[in-house]
Amino acid sequence: MLNYIWLAMVVLAVVLGGINGRIEAVTKAAIDSASGAVTIALGLVGVMALWLGIVKIAEDSGLMALLARAIAPVLKWLFPDVPKGHPAMASMTMNIAANMLGLSNAATPLGIKAMEDLETLNPRPGVATNAMCTFLTINTASLQLIPATMIGVMASAGSRDPAAIIGTTIAATCCALTAGIATVKVLERIPFFAADRGEGAR
C-alpha cells in the first residue's frame, strides 16, 4: 500500500513541479526535507532516553504490570491479541494518558515504547500486526482534551474567546477516533489487508 502511495507522491511532485515551473523548489525541498528528518529524529534522542529510563524503573518495580492488569478490561476489546498483563498494555495506556493531557514530549516516546512492546508479540517482523494498526490509528486522531496550540494561535490573533473551539474540537476528535477504530476493525478482516498476504507467492 505504502509502496504505491509513496511512489505516487514522488511522481506527482516531479510532474506537477515541472508543469508549475517549480522544479528547482522541488529539488530544494527534497534535500531540505531529508536533512530535516534527521534533525527531527536526533531531537528525539534525549526525550526518548528520559522516558525509556523512567519506564524501565516502572517495569522493574512492577508498576507497569500493575497498570497493565488494571487497564486490561478496558483495552481488551481494542487489542484482543495482546495478552492480559502484557507490558504493551501499560505503555499504551501511558501514551494515551500523555496524549490526552497534551504532553507531546512524553506521548511520542511512550508511544514508540508501546510499539516496541507490541513488536515482541509480532510473528512477522516488518509487517504491522492488528494491534499495531489499531494503536497507530488511535494516535493519528488527536486525543488531547485541550487543543493548546490552537488556543494559543487564536489568542495571539486577538480572539475574544480563544477557548470557544474546545467543544467543537473534542466533538470532531471523537467522531474521527470512532471512525478510525471502526475502519481498522473492519479492514483487519479483509483478505487484501491480511498480515500473511503475499507469503509463499515467491
Partner: protein, 178 residues
C-alpha cells in the same frame, strides 16, 4: 473551569511522573539510578532507527508541497466540493493536515488572521487543525521505530479518520457558531 483543571493537571503531570515512579521504585527495592540508565540506553538506537522512514515520508511530502500540488488539487476538487457545501477556504488545510504539521499550522494561522479568529471560518480552521494528527508523520515515527514496512490497513484507517474529522469539524462548527 474544566479547562483550568486540565491545564493544572498538564502542568503537574510530568514532574509528578518523574517523582512518583522513582519513589515507588525505591519503595519496592529497585536501584533506580541503575534502572534508569539501563532503560535510557535504548533512546539513541530507537531515534536512529526512525531516520530512514522519516526521510522517506518527509522527502515525498516536502516535494509535493514545493511542487504546488496542494494548491492544484484544491482548485481541482473545488467545483465538486462546492456542491456538497464544503467551504473552499478550508480545502487546502484539509489536504495538508495529514501530510505536514508545520505546513498545516501555517495555513491555519493565515486563515485565522485573514478571516478573524472569532469568525466561523477561523474557528472552523482551528477546530479542523486540532481534531486530528499528522497521519503520515505519526506513521513514519511509530512504525519506523519497530521497522514496520508493510503498514497494511493503517494508512487507510488514518485517512478515513482525517476525512471524518474535517466533515465533523464543519458540521459541529456550523451548529455551534453559525
Amino acid at each position: 473551569m474544566m479547562q483550568q483543571i486540565i491545564g493544572t493537571l498538564s502542568a503537574w503531570a510530568i514532574p509528578l511522573f518523574l517523582v512518583a515512579i522513582p519513589l515507588y521504585g525505591v519503595a519496592r527495592g529497585v536501584k533506580v539510578y541503575e534502572s534508569f540508565v539501563e532503560g535510557a540506553k535504548g533512546g539513541f538506537q530507537t531515534a536512529i532507527r526512525i531516520i530512514p522512514y522519516l526521510v522517506a515520508i518527509l522527502v515525498a511530502v516536502g516535494m509535493l508541497r514545493a511542487a504546488g500540488a496542494i494548491e492544484m488539487l484544491s482548485r481541482g476538487l473545488d467545483p465538486l466540493l462546492a456542491r456538497l457545501h464544503f467551504p473552499a477556504e478550508i480545502l487546502p488545510l484539509a489536504l495538508m493536515r495529514p501530510l505536514s504539521g508545520s505546513g498545516s499550522l501555517g495555513i491555519v494561522t493565515e486563515l485565522i488572521q485573514v478571516h478573524g479568529p472569532d469568525s466561523l471560518l477561523g474557528r472552523l480552521a482551528a477546530t479542523a487543525y486540532g481534531s486530528t494528527e499528522t497521519t503520515f508523520y505519526v506513521l513514519a515515527v511509530y512504525f519506523g521505530a519497530v521497522g514496520i514496512k508493510k503498514v497494511r490497513h493503517a494508512v487507510f484507517a488514518g485517512l478515513v479518520a482525517d476525512v471524518v474529522s474535517i466533515v465533523a469539524a464543519i458540521t459541529f462548527c456550523r451548529l455551534a457558531f453559525a
